[in-house]
Subunit: 453 residues, 2 copies
Amino acid sequence: MSVIDTLIDRLPDGRVLTDPDVIDSYARDKTFCEPGKALGVVLAGSREDVVTTLRWASEHRVPVVPRGAGTGLAGAATAGDGSIVLSLARMTAIRELSPADEIAVVEPGVITADLDRAARAHGLMYAPDPSSYEISTIGGNLATNAGGLRCVKYGVTRDSALGLEVVLADGRVLNTGRRTMKGVTGYDLTGLFVGSEGTLGVITAATVRLRRAPEAPPATFAAEFGSLREAGAAVSAIMAAGCQPSLLELLDRATLEAIDDMRSIGLEAATMAMLIGQSDATDSAAAVARMQEVCEAHGAAFVAVSSSPAEAEELIGVRRMAYHAKERLGACLVEDVCVPRSVLPDMIGAIEAAAVRHGVKICTVAHAGDGNLHPVFIFDRGAAEPPPEVWAAADEVFTRALALGGTLTGEHGVGLLKRRWLALETGEVVEEIHHGIKAVFDPLGILNPGKAI
Amino acid sequence: MSVIDTLIDRLPDGRVLTDPDVIDSYARDKTFCEPGKALGVVLAGSREDVVTTLRWASEHRVPVVPRGAGTGLAGAATAGDGSIVLSLARMTAIRELSPADEIAVVEPGVITADLDRAARAHGLMYAPDPSSYEISTIGGNLATNAGGLRCVKYGVTRDSALGLEVVLADGRVLNTGRRTMKGVTGYDLTGLFVGSEGTLGVITAATVRLRRAPEAPPATFAAEFGSLREAGAAVSAIMAAGCQPSLLELLDRATLEAIDDMRSIGLEAATMAMLIGQSDATDSAAAVARMQEVCEAHGAAFVAVSSSPAEAEELIGVRRMAYHAKERLGACLVEDVCVPRSVLPDMIGAIEAAAVRHGVKICTVAHAGDGNLHPVFIFDRGAAEPPPEVWAAADEVFTRALALGGTLTGEHGVGLLKRRWLALETGEVVEEIHHGIKAVFDPLGILNPGKAI
């Protein structure tokens, strides 16, 4: 009996997939990172399946790579040689949704937008909305501490996580956190698991916070600028003016061209950047009017304002097309630096300079209100990995972000992709503490080895 | 040379206090917990003093009890036999305050309200406001993950902590977190330190998030109810109606009597509970009008509304008097359960029943919008610790809070005081993980032993 057969034997029928092509499709995320040869895929249907898989993995020292929908952008779900892929995508129950307590208890495979829709039926919302929220899972969002467009007002995934049920590497079940709005009993284990990329345990249920959904439709604007730096300066000014946008996204010329090429948006020759913003406040029209004024004061050539939901959705739709549009240009190295808002124009300048210096095409979109930029480095689709000039340009961008008081990753995570720069940001003491904590939860080192830390 | 002399020798002059009466005054917090005989008190003036003290403590295996202003309510800063008290209260610099980035970098001894005032000068605020915020320190707030009145809208201290500088038990310096709004590089060590009550390291600087201060003066109301349960039901209804109060406090009859006794507030015979609420939204008057309606629909006999800052401060002032008023009644065991909001009336009922059953005087105030209740058990000031009937009543309150899906402590922490109930909430696996994490940071166990976990 082979090792994988002993697992098949212990799990209910149909839970383990061993077809090589199927395994390969479960061994990747949205990056170019090439997986190794995994042993198989477990489609967990319950917490018990997860417990069984992890006990088996501990006995046989088999690395376990947990995954949600595989929409990650850092290689955190890339499976290595000899590993078992543990998919949580079939655990899709919303176990509880309490409008009175404004919480939900969900399984990890719930699609993020599905939870948001379920909450909306009660006048509530699930705030975190990564661009992938129609296809990504709550479990994956928790594992990566996913951000999104609404973060600028409502915070990231960790800010909505109250408690977790986690299966540890040895199969023991750990319950963290609480169902209450506040709680300080013991160490913050919930926060520790969020963003740990499956290296500390496997999340099998989560208690998340819901919020009141805004009652009126939001007001939305799109502003066109003649330079990226002007748009960046407008962002800083909007935030400093206390406009509290619920969304504030920046698109550069290269991104706009890619979108215009995919579906004509009537892009003007002089438009070098676009800022798309929204307010969902009770006085949203007034807030957007203030943002419009700030944009005009910072050189915006044209500002379109809308309070009709359909028109607003059209403006936001331009932003949502960005990734698809870029994927048509070639293979993508998607980066994710985040800087203090005041230096957003400097960071934008550094990205532009790196593109020119290294002769690399970079398209940038940003969750600008958070200072979180996604420079996307385009390279030849045929290449197994990015060519040296792309790495060199990326290196320059990271180094500059850190020098500006920023971080390597605002919301995508470290995964495989950013480990080469990790020590630049964290340093030796943090590294030692990271590995010490890892050993407490996973002494055999079987949980998603080589990721996150 | 005695052990303490070797420390005096290494630190700048005047940093170590050894007078027994002085030591005793630094060995207590606001609880009745009796300290042991500490060796001395270090008044740290810099990070270097903290490093020196911790290196010395590691060499000599001396327990270190870090402290801010000693306003804690769980005994977390109670010093044990043979320990050294490490006071951070003299490290009071606001090193940086950036209005553009909405952050501040502060030393641990900064008084919380001082930081808030410094931020207000730039149109910003530091949101967390424990009742003690005029005398407590940021360092103590971080160590306990302090809550406060504004939590209901702005979250707890952890929600405002972006990064920390921490000295570990062996004297190494660890930098966690970031200066940016978002960031997911590595594990959430910042969140782990917040609320760890000095058991993992000593915070010597913090980067905290500031927020835009509301522009208009807030609108405020006080509502009088004929029963505590009606008031509790009004709280649930206010939150469910999406009124988003910036403060929502509940006071029971016993608390109101204690306040009235201290300074007459014209308490009516039929008033069994008072609800004090505030909105700082741009449409604050409308929000308060809605809250007033909800209160009246739930049986409020009288609702006073004010949008004048002076009148509002008078209404809130009643709430702020609560602790002083209770201290006049006797010694206090202050508890801190937090329950899901929907069961607030049940929890209030359980507290009333425990008071009757055990013949104990309990005065309750609550950060009601968060479901966070402070039942204060009054006992004879002469007693060294609470009599058996107080412990029995407290035990009943804790057990009921957990049964209702709540937690032992919403914002005060576990300290010494709640360790006897800790296992009821956390269980064996969490306990093991807690101690594993503790050992990573503090393998010799010298940091605030016997607290938090």
